[in-house]
Point group: C2
Chain length 428, copies 2
């Protein structure tokens, strides 16, 4: 592939200014859940102009909403179409899905933002805004990789399938819909914000709700009641024990650098209604990490068993068992072999572009890649230019240089993965 790196870099340099403006325009589209139509239509238009076969549709129907992996707070997606554009190959090559989501989480408290979250303001090479890192910057890298190869006159053998999906932040219904619509490929790249680390394995996760019971009484005679707040402390301790047990079993070296490979996080606690009454109910909500290769049902059964164990520690729980409910978001775990050919190609491209060795780790969070790997037989690798630490936070930003670096790496990788059918007119 001699010379391709330089050609790609030169082409991307030319496109840089327009690409930055495009990313700004995308960030200015406030594509929170239920408001994705505008950005999706503009993306569809752009893919069409690039000569791709464009598919824009509103997902619906029971095949989707009754699917065991369907998770969403809503069942109608009227203002949230999915978009897929296929850059048809000449045939014979390996196909590749470039998957990314356009939905962004809410901006939260405006006062905590230094820059308007939907301004796309650029300071010192960083573009600020909700979705800049998670993951419109990544999506731009994918698009730019295709655009660059096209500008260089390249035709690939394998198909490249660009997917701009909705609903990732709520558990992946958008990507599930692409799978049910028949989209699959020989592999997939998902440029979620990994700081350009390569994640062949990704943790899954599920949300749970625990209801801890007590018995009310006046605070002045609190000994006549049973505090659900005190009992919930025992529950939190038991969950911590379960977390330790589950993580002690993880020996995969890809997890070596993570203090807790598959955490169980209790994120919400709420109970009691009156300062001078004994609380008779506490609700705990959390997220349970699921190991790559672990069945979600097995993880659920372990949680169930841990809660049952509470009765041995405190007889109260024998008569008033903690209620367990799985609700809300859920991400399927996924794993791609570390020696998968796309893994090797990616690392090689990374080193070629950056001059450094790629960092390969396991993802501490879930993405739509689990669905692609498990349901669509499409091994998905997660690697992208966004800054992990600022995703979902105020002052979210992305470093523009990394976006273009990622585009270069993707373009190089695509050349080898999909195969070159026809080199462009640009001399090598």
């Amino acid at each position: 592939m001699t010379g391709w790196k330089e050609k790609i870099q030169a082409q991307i340099k030319k496109e840089r200014e327009a690409a930055v403006e495009l990313l700004q325009a995308w960030v200015r589209e406030k594509s929170v859940q239920g408001e994705e139509r505008s950005i999706q239509e503009s993306i569809a238009k752009r893919l069409d102009a690039m000569g791709m076969e464009v598919d824009l549709w509103v997902m619906e129907g029971e095949e989707l909403t009754r699917h065991p992996y369907f998770v969403s707070p809503r069942t109608s997606f009227e203002n949230s179409p999915n978009v897929v554009g296929v850059w048809k190959g000449t045939g014979g090559g390996r196909s590749l899905i470039l998957n990314g989501h356009v939905d962004v989480v809410p901006a939260g408290d405006r006062a905590q933002w230094e820059h308007d979250p939907f301004s796309g303001e650029i300071v010192d090479g960083k573009l600020y805004g909700r979705g800049a890192t998670d993951m419109k910057g990544g999506n731009l890298a994918s698009l730019l990789a295709i655009q660059t190869l096209q500008a260089l006159g390249v035709r690939l053998q394998g198909d490249v399938i660009f997917q701009s999906v909705v609903e990732e932040e709520s558990g992946g219904a958008g990507t599930l819909a692409t799978i049910l619509r028949g989209y699959k490929a020989d592999a997939a790249l998902i440029p979620e914000p990994t700081n350009m680390k390569i994640f062949p394995k990704q943790q899954g996760s599920m949300w749970f709700r625990l209801t801890v019971k007590g018995r009310s009484a006046h605070g002045g005679t609190r000994y006549e009641g049973v505090s659900a707040i005190e009992k919930s402390m025992l529950v939190v301790q038991e969950i911590a024990r379960l977390e330790k047990e589950r993580n002690d079993r993880i020996t995969d070296p890809l997890y070596a650098k993570l203090p807790i490979p598959i955490p169980i996080n209790i994120g919400v606690i709420e109970g009691g209604k009156w300062p001078s009454s004994v609380a008779d109910l506490v609700k705990l909500e959390g997220r349970m990490g699921v190991a790559p290769g672990e069945a979600m049902d097995d993880a659920k059964a372990e949680m169930d068993a841990a809660l049952k164990r509470l009765a041995e520690r405190d007889p109260w729980f024998a008569e008033h068992p903690v209620e367990l409910e799985w609700f809300g978001a859920r991400w399927v775990p996924g794993a791609v072999a570390e020696d998968h050919p796309l893994m090797e190609l990616l690392q090689k491209s990374f080193e070629s572009v950056t001059g450094k060795q790629a960092v390969v780790e396991a993802s501490p969070w879930g993405t739509d890649g689990g669905l692609l790997t498990v349901l669509a037989d499409t091994p998905a690798i997660v690697v992208g230019p966004g800054v992990t630490q600022v995703a979902h936070y105020p002052n979210e930003y992305i470093e523009l240089d990394t976006v273009f670096q990622c585009a270069e790496i993707f373009a190089l990788t695509m050349l080898e993965w999909c195969g070159i059918a026809q080199e462009g007119g640009v001399s090598s």
Copy 2:
């Protein structure tokens, strides 16, 4: 006082049917906070008809609202007048306040009530409804005691001051207003629901709010954050230690039967916003019991010191101290000597009427008696016919027999405390 018991009992028997109807009418008056005008006007009318000097007024002004003991969620009491009726004595005797509140707490979830909470329905000698026990039944006993003595033609030497106050459930602004208006006496009886136990001492209490800080992070990398939920567990433990220390010091035999004489109850917990984020803030709200004779500021200082100790147990708290706020309701503790003459009289009357020995204990909760004792130099004793356990709960009820028993005990006690100026025409 030979013969008085029988005369009083006979008279009350005559009044019984009308008295029950009056209690039903009172319970049907939904006198929750802000809706007390109607019941207060009807009480004022009744006191007037009984020849008492009646004072109905809407409390207001900065003397009240800026008073250090003023606690209320509101500053305007337009629809919540206080009522005081004075049955003037002939002079020379000891005066007595009969204090009771007409405000009731909300009925709560109707589905948990067997009977309409504002019906006053009677089943098996129990009158059901919000406020029946806390404390309209007690108020009726006070009124009936006066009415009975009047019907028997008695004139007392000391004044009897019947007080129907608002705002007890919110911390006592109604009684505070009577004190600022100049009402005081040689002693007071407050027929709060004690199951007819006699409480010469009453616990005070104060509400507090604690804000426990953490640091947010994604649940999948929860080790990068600090869970305010986990930290709040340490806070709950520290509060439990403080409660133990404070209660270990209580040696008063009146508290011997109470497992925790002055409890600290944490009644509300709330923190975190998202199951898969590390909670960065937890709010705890509770009620701290204050011993009779303990200065409220000393109790506050102990809470403060306990929270400061947390920094020794966990360095996190050194940099992120728990915030402490005293808010909402507050009840001043109060104590009357066990050999106070009114205590002796009350016990004698109790034994005379019931044939049993009175149970003397310390109150596990606060009443307006603390304000009377501390601010108005009016030693207040709490004893009443209501059922402690059902106050503030669904299916609140009162046993009608106990109401009339209490009226008999109060009437007998008043005769001796205030002194008889003129016996009635009924032969003894």
